[in-house]
């Protein structure tokens, strides 16, 4: 039987607004390595280091595994959505939130959080770490390193999925190996060595819930936007498997390794620990490639989200967002970090606001569409001329209730998880009864042209 003709026009590049055609789909390994490339960064090691100040070695392992298991479930479910639909997070969000809702939440999740916010912070981090490795060189001045480092990050994000994949193939094994060497040497050279690790008490003990919250919060944005990558996988299950393996094996490896290093040495900066013993080149590669593979993904997702309502070529958006991010990083570099606290608070706030967006999406795709009798393989399959809602008021209410009640008002449990579950529950208990009662849950209509915008 002849294969059906691909009905879409990829007007903006990299299939930003249309499904990825079957001929362009890639392997599970490629997707796994891109996910791991996002995870493999100095910030993840610093996050693990923070856990090392809160827990002893045994609890560190438990907290890391529990937090990662929660992320595996959330990300596994969202990853499946992208792999089935072939579309990005922001295109898929048109179903549970409507076209305008998808603009708003897409901008919050990726446009502001990843594309500008995290891109700027990670570029700034890059400058700081490069400066720590080689402090007396002009090219390693924080603001200068932020500029040239940011340029590399923009480059692979502009190339698109292929660029991210090639870089991840090259970088991930190297990063994991170098990080392992760094952990081993730092712990082994500490006063107590490996044998003393089990006896060390944390300097700043915290509750189990606080630890799990920290782990989930570290990567919840990533778990929400897995579809940006899994849309490229060949088989529906590939994306979920790729996500679960990296988050259940490699994330605990980094968190526990970094936490153990901090327990043993009191030092969270793996690059500094490596430089101190003469592994400067290894430290540089760790920082350079680690930051690069993470930050190009931030920029990539940011541009994808904004492309849903700014009809220009995706590479133009990528470059524009990248320049804004670099400018912020340069400013922080020159101002020695002045004014960072409000921004860090803002990023923390997003950790409570983002999960219910994933909750509503999961509820709509796996429960509401099942209730409506749609086959799993047919859900979120867009077609040219298809009518999509402008707004889905049930989705908007679910996110607001999830974020406010789950993220802030409920004082027990894990805020990120509370917010996600509430978003999920509110969506289900509003959408299904409304449907049974004949009350429309959507407002307005928009017919999709063949460009997908």
């Amino acid at each position: 039987m002849a294969e059906a003709k691909y009905p879409w026009k990829d007007k903006f590049g990299d299939y930003a607004l249309v499904p990825v055609p079957p001929g362009e789909r890639r392997s599970m390994m490629g997707c796994f390595l891109i996910f791991t490339g996002v995870l493999a960064c100095i910030a993840a090691i610093m996050g693990g280091g923070a856990l090392g100040t809160m827990f002893n070695f045994r609890d560190l392992i438990i907290v890391s595994v529990v937090g990662c298991a929660i992320l595996a479930v959330i990300g596994g479910l969202t990853a499946g959505i992208g792999a089935i639909s072939g579309c990005s997070t922001y295109v898929n969000m048109r179903f549970p939130y409507g076209r305008i809702g998808a603009w708003i939440f897409g901008t919050i999740i990726a446009g502001i959080s990843c594309g500008i916010g995290w891109f700027a912070v990670q570029t700034w981090f890059f400058g700081i770490f490069v400066n720590a490795i080689a402090p007396k060189i002009f090219l390693s001045e924080i603001w200068v390193a932020a500029i040239w480092g940011g340029f590399f990050m923009i480059l692979t994000a502009v190339i698109g999925y292929r660029g991210l994949a090639v870089l991840s193939y090259l970088t991930v094994p190297m990063f994991m190996l170098l990080a392992g060497i760094g952990f081993m040497v730092a712990i082994g050279e500490s006063a107590g060595g490996f044998s003393g690790l089990l006896k060390i008490a944390p300097s700043n003990p915290a509750s189990f819930v606080a630890g799990v919250t920290a782990v989930v919060g570290m990567y919840i944005a990533g778990a929400t936007i897995t579809q940006d990558m899994t849309r490229y996988t060949t088989r529906p299950r590939d994306g979920a498997i790729a996500w679960i393996i990296q988050v259940m094996i490699l994330m605990p490896y980094l968190l526990v390794g970094a936490g153990a290093m901090v327990l043993a040495t009191g030092e969270a900066n793996i690059a500094a620990a490596m430089v101190a013993i003469g592994l400067g080149l290894g430290a540089f590669l760790l920082v350079f490639f680690g930051q690069w593979t993470t930050n190009d993904n931030n920029l990539y997702s940011g541009a994808l989200s904004i492309n849903t309502y700014v009809p220009v070529k995706k590479w133009m958006l990528t470059v524009t967002l990248g320049i804004i991010g670099i400018a912020l990083a340069v400013y922080w570099g020159l101002a020695a970090g002045a004014g960072m606290q409000p921004f860090i608070n803002f990023i923390s706030t997003l950790g409570r606001v983002l999960p219910p967006i994933a909750g509503g999406l999961i509820a709509d795709f796996y429960v509401y569409r099942w209730y409506k009798g749609e086959k799993l393989s047919e859900r979120y399959k867009v077609k040219p001329g298809m009518v999509i809602p402008e707004l889905n008021w049930v989705g908007i209410i679910a996110v607001v209730v999830g974020a406010v009640v789950g993220g802030y008002l409920i004082t027990w449990g894990i805020p990120a998880l509370n917010a996600l579950l509430l978003g999920f529950i509110v969506y289900v208990i509003l959408a299904i009864p409304c449907d049974k009662a004949g009350i429309p849950i959507t407002i307005g209509k928009h017919a999709l042209p063949d460009t997908g915008i």
Partner: protein, 131 residues
């Protein structure tokens, strides 16, 4: 040479180098434990990457075979770069400098042949750079 034969030969070479570095790591662990462990880990990584290519290459031809070659050579190259970056450092020095040079040479071979193999796989089989 036929590319299938060539890629099988390369897999064998990478595996042999991996085993050799693993052996060096075991031998030198008494002189510098960190060096011994690091050599052994890198050797095991490369050995596993090479050996896991064998069943994946079996029965494949053309671009499908090329894609497998590209994937495994990216990893060989990546681990090789890590070896090149850390092996020469003073921290991993050994009483016999010759063994350090040997480890560095192995890494250099992995890097150079990794790049060549990726190039050849793309050029001769039409494989993708990012699979």
């Amino acid at each position: 040479m036929d590319f299938k034969k060539y890629s099988s030969l390369m897999v064998c070479l990478f595996a042999v180098l991996g085993i050799a570095l693993l052996a060096v790591g075991i031998v030198v662990r008494g002189d510098n434990l960190y060096t011994g462990i690091t050599y052994a880990v890198v050797g095991i990584f490369q050995l596993l990457i090479a050996l896991s290519a064998i069943p994946r290459l079996r029965g494949k031809d053309g671009a499908a075979m090329g894609n497998v070659v590209v994937q495994h050579n990216w990893w060989i190259l990546s681990v090789g770069i890590a070896g090149l970056a850390v092996f020469p450092s003073r921290f991993f020095s050994l009483p016999s400098a010759g063994l350090v040079y040997l480890a560095v040479a192995f890494s250099a071979i992995w890097v150079i042949l990794g790049i060549i193999d990726i190039y050849l796989a793309v050029k001769r089989t039409g494989a993708r750079l990012a699979v």
